[in-house]
Symmetry: C5
Subunit: 352 residues, 5 copies
């Protein structure tokens, strides 16, 4: 469900106060740096702020990945060294910040949501902030698990064109990795939808309705994280910032296409959850009809027969039929005739 | 529910007539002033109009907070002294005025709705009008309770950057305090939604449906107060008024982001109340199915058996079965067989 | 319901043919004039066209109010004298014309709908056309009853600023009177909605559903008359016509705010009628569930007991139980046990 | 239902191939010409293409009305003589073409749908293409029945201003005649809606639901034909073509207003068919509730009484009550008491 | 259902990696060339890349049709020779790419979906990419079956204007062939809808609901493929590329009209599937009402009668009625009277 618990942590504080609002315990941040040229790549874990700043200012391209954002003091100092606006730093560690991109003279600041599935197929959303500088990309993420392994692999092994391009391409590559994982999440939703569809048709237990509603809620939630990204990218493409080369914009256009595709899928999924619920309700009605038919058939057949039996169970002194030789058999005849007539009647109404 | 009772108070009066339409008894207004420089803060409760005007015209920044807006004569005189348009004054004390911002040469006039929760978790909405002058912020509010305690605290204790900035930052700080409280209200709605969700799944009494509809109405009502604010702020950001510095616009952009987030949440809550109602209806259907199944099973099993018993309760003279030694036991056998067959049938149809 | 009966009266006629399409019998028009300066007001009922035209051309401001628009010849002659386009005259007396404003060099022509409640709380909609000239406002209305009494009162007694301003302010004042009455109508709808809401929760008879649908239809109908007005006023505000002073535009902006408020309320009412209907349906379901539970409980308890009684009503010669001393009491014991067991079962399922 | 059968006739053919796709058998086209000046009107039925072309090129205004569009060769030759683009000719005789207006240097080409009711109140839609030249209006229509009788009458008898104006006014007059008939169709829909409304409240048979759905489909279908016209007219008004005089644009503005009104009505009808269906469903629920109440009352009252009778129909040797003098009457007393108690219970629950 | 399986094939790979993601086994590509002038046409199957490139660079117009896109190496080399951007090549063979058109200096690149029906009326969607060069059209398609037979026929036999025009007309002709087939698919949907409509009214089995939902899903899916095309074409019409002549734009405008028509039909189909489902649910309700009425009538008639029989089956010693001469016949009289009264009652309530 929506997290608005920021209210608890921030009410009455001045805007721009850097407060970690995530759900994890406070731990120290660790920093992981890739520093590369087309030919070489150097990977390290610097400890001091000056060391980190060195990578930013060098001529090589570097990726400074800050893992763990609960250490507010460290983040604030890092932000000052990198010349970031305090309001942005607030957003960088505010895990409830919605996706955004802000352009400044010296850097472009973006917040996104990584969505991925755990081994148990649970949906995880992680906050990530990416800052693009002239020669450096600074990333803030909450935990080590992320969707960037492919990028790291391409950097380490020099695959593709990544090492031959500037920091803007790295920025794009990270964004592209995030978007690629949205497809994985969509595929998972798709699978759940297919399972539910099959169950709605075949065993529509009440539990299915609950799971349909949960799926609907998940689609709503994911949409919230993914939907703004398309618009953000198209603003990047239209941007006149010197930080993004014309070449990278071509790639961003590709990413924009993917976002369009994802948004359309989400829209279709939303309509399909509604269809599923409709189908579920119609199945409930069918079942009810079935149940009622059985009841009606049983009752309509046997209640009149029981009445006849009841009549001849009366104890009147003078009941001439009772004394006849074949009265009993005649009554059986009448009852069987009635029974058959009823069956025929229900057959004709297509209830059997 | 919507208040349109303004009709009662105003029909036939000329436009611009300053009329208090609130639900409270008329009381005298009191004025609370903060007058501050980066170094000092001076707090007082002036009584005369000239005294108040003095704070407006001084070189220091001042916050003139008018509490109680039912004294129409006082408000009108104050308005004249501050040079406000009478139409604006009408809006300032019209508690049913929807949120708006109007820009003039010498001031910016805004009406907002403070939403907060009482100790009993009841939702209160209070009307507040804020006027931004070059060196002064003039606030009209209906009662003393408000959401500005945090701002007062920061002013008094010199926390954050508030005392070092101009009146535009104070204007923003008040607006930010109002918006921060919207998150509290959303959180309350969220909690109510979670409670209702849990109840819909587990004990869907008719009362739950009523509460879902009430929640829906609350969301509609809140949306009405909150929704226009986003657009108003984005107009402020685009404004060319000399009253708002470029620096403060950065902060307003942040507030704009928060409004976007709130509006999205409200949209999601609206869809979720619909889902809840749908879920409730589907649960009703399930329950009905359960009830009908019990009835059908009981009736289908025992009505035929009762018929058989009825047959052998008839009093025909000539009923050969009655005279046989084991007729009774045979009938029991038949009845038990039927009973078991019925159970198996219902088991196979998954009704048991 | 929608009136499209214009078809009957106009098919095959040339456009611009001045035809009265209202539901009233044709009567003579009467003309009521207010002629005023800031100091004086002169009220009269001129009979000839030249007399009327004199008021239009005088230096004083005048309000020429034509009551009764079924006398097509009179209207056509009046229109020619005032220099009005025949197409506009057609709209002026076409009671089915939707709200519109057309600007011309020499005048501004507007059609609006007056909505008010009769003493019996019936909703009446009256067509009114208002033409603004340099020094004169010409009004066409169908009957004498209208919403302009407040304006007449202010003119006669010199209240407010109305006599000190030009014809454009008079135009605004009439429009404002029309809009103020929309609030009265909304309040009436609000009351009906509250009554229905109370009834849906407490006595949801089928009649309530009919009244909810009627309310919905009324909201749709009113919306049709009111909705376009907001857009029309905002076009007036943006207009560059010399007929409307900058000062009056401030007042129009206020009227625009009121229209926004009314449209929002109508939107909310529309959503609330849907909620009401939903609530009504959910209550129907609840009631059905209640009914079914009673039936199921009664049947499930007594059908098995009746079966037991039936068994021992059989007339087999050899039924050992019948001969035992306490058989009857044992059977009673069994039946009471079953009865209690059933009650406990239904209690546990929360059906009792 | 939607006609997409064009597929059958055109797949694989080159675009611009002039193919008649209507539902009528191929017949020869006939041409009907009105040639007029303010003073005279001349009506004739020319047979040769050159004769027809003569009317187009004369100084008088002429209306060339081609009735029957299935003779593809004739149409193609006519088109060439008039200098029409083959793609337009294709549209002119494609009876499934949606409404459109295309402007060219020398002419303006429009396709519209005439909707009218037959004597049996069946809704007919006829395709019509109108081409406006400098001095001539060329009309293509499928059959002789049309909605232009009023225009012909005004031309023949010199009524209104039609003979005094140019070909653009004739174009407008034809369009206006088409739009006027939309009002007749709307009125018919309105009547059907009122009848259905009355039936839903009073005798909601299943047949009513079918007719509501049919009405809904008709509204959808009509909307498709009418909806684009408004936009087309507003493009004509904004057009800078020399073919349409400023004067005629005033009339087109009027037609535009009518289209707005029609579209609003259609929108309202659409919402009302939904309301009707909702109402129908709610009535179904009510009826079901009534039926269930009767069943429940009957069963709840008599099942326990039957049980009591059953108990005293048992044949146990030792049943003390049976031997008492007044046992039978006591049992009657108990049964009557139960019966009354049940009635009171159901009365209290408002089921009776 | 939506295919998002791209995730599986591409996660972690660099963007621009040319990967075939289709559902078919990898096979070799074959190339089919039409090379034509207004007078001649030459058809061949070149094997080498240089041979293919020769057709591109010749002065004649050529259509290079690549069938089979799973051979990634071949496609990549071909792309390089033709000077295509690798990102576009990726889209060209990505069978899950949504429709798009990208304009470049030297070529225009488009991706579309061919929809057609197999002999068994199954809906097939095939991916096709079309690249327009100055003198050449390059097509990538997955299999040999396509919708271009009509175009090939016109080329071979010199029908229509196709051989007399440039490559842009060929591009349009292919697009037009794709769009023409959308009409065939719509017609199929229309037929299915009519069948379902007939079944909903006459035999609404649960299977019908499933088929309605399937139809709804198909409409959603098709809309996804078709909807973007209209927008793409209107961008082509507005484009200033030298590759598209003014003449061809006229034809594209026609194609744009067709897309508008298709989109409107899809919108109407969507609303009609909802109506169908509504109708189905209302029929379910009707059926349930019918079933319940039968049950209620049977039970209400016979339960009281059975009770009466039960009463006189009691074994009280002292039951005076039993001893009377005509008691039995009186009881029959009472029972018959009750029976008839019940029938009359149900008749009056219109249940029979």
């Amino acid at each position: 469900m929506q997290k608005v618990s920021r209210a608890r942590g921030k009410i009455g504080k001045a805007p721009g106060t850097i407060t970690y609002l995530g759900r994890r315990e406070k731990t120290e941040s660790s920093v992981h740096v890739f520093d590369y040229t087309p030919k070489d790549v150097y990977e390290c874990y610097p400890k001091t702020l000056n060391e980190i700043l060195g990578y930013k200012n060098s001529d090589t391209i570097s990726w400074v990945d800050v893992v763990g954002i609960s250490d507010e003091v460290f983040i604030e100092n890092l932000g000052k060294k990198f010349g970031l606006n305090p309001l942005l730093l607030e957003d960088a560690i505010n895990t409830q910040q919605r996706p955004k991109i802000d352009e400044y003279e010296a850097y472009i600041f973006g917040v996104f949501k990584m969505l991925y599935l755990t081994d148990k197929n649970e949906l995880v959303n992680e906050h990530v902030a990416i800052v693009l500088f002239e020669k450096c990309v600074l990333v803030f993420q909450e935990v080590k698990d992320d969707v960037f392994e492919g990028v790291r692999n391409r950097l380490t092994n020099g695959l593709g064109r990544i090492r031959t391009k500037g920091s803007d391409y790295l920025f794009f590559a990270l964004l592209d990795a995030i978007i690629d994982n949205y497809f994985v999440v969509l595929e998972n939703i798709n699978t759940r939808m297919e399972v539910l569809e099959e169950e709605v048709y075949n065993h529509p237990t009440p539990d299915v309705a609950i799971r349909i509603q949960e799926l609907k809620k998940d689609v709503l939630k994911i949409r919230r994280y993914i939907f703004p990204v398309k618009e953000l990218i198209s603003r990047l493409i239209a941007s006149e910032s010197h930080l993004i080369s014309k070449d990278t914009k071509l790639f961003l256009r590709d990413a924009h296409d993917h976002c369009t595709e994802i948004n359309e899928s989400l829209q279709i999924y939303r309509e399909m959850t509604m269809s599923l619920m409709e189908m579920y309700m119609s199945n409930m009605s069918n079942k009810m009809n079935e149940v009622m038919k059985v009841l009606t058939i049983m009752a309509s057949i046997f209640i009149p027969l029981t009445f006849i039996a009841g009549v001849y169970g009366m104890n009147f002194k003078n009941m001439p039929e009772l004394q006849t030789e074949y009265g009993y058999f005649v009554v059986w005849g009448v009852m069987i005739t009635l029974f058959v007539a009823m069956l025929v009647y229900f057959k004709n109404r297509h209830w059997l």
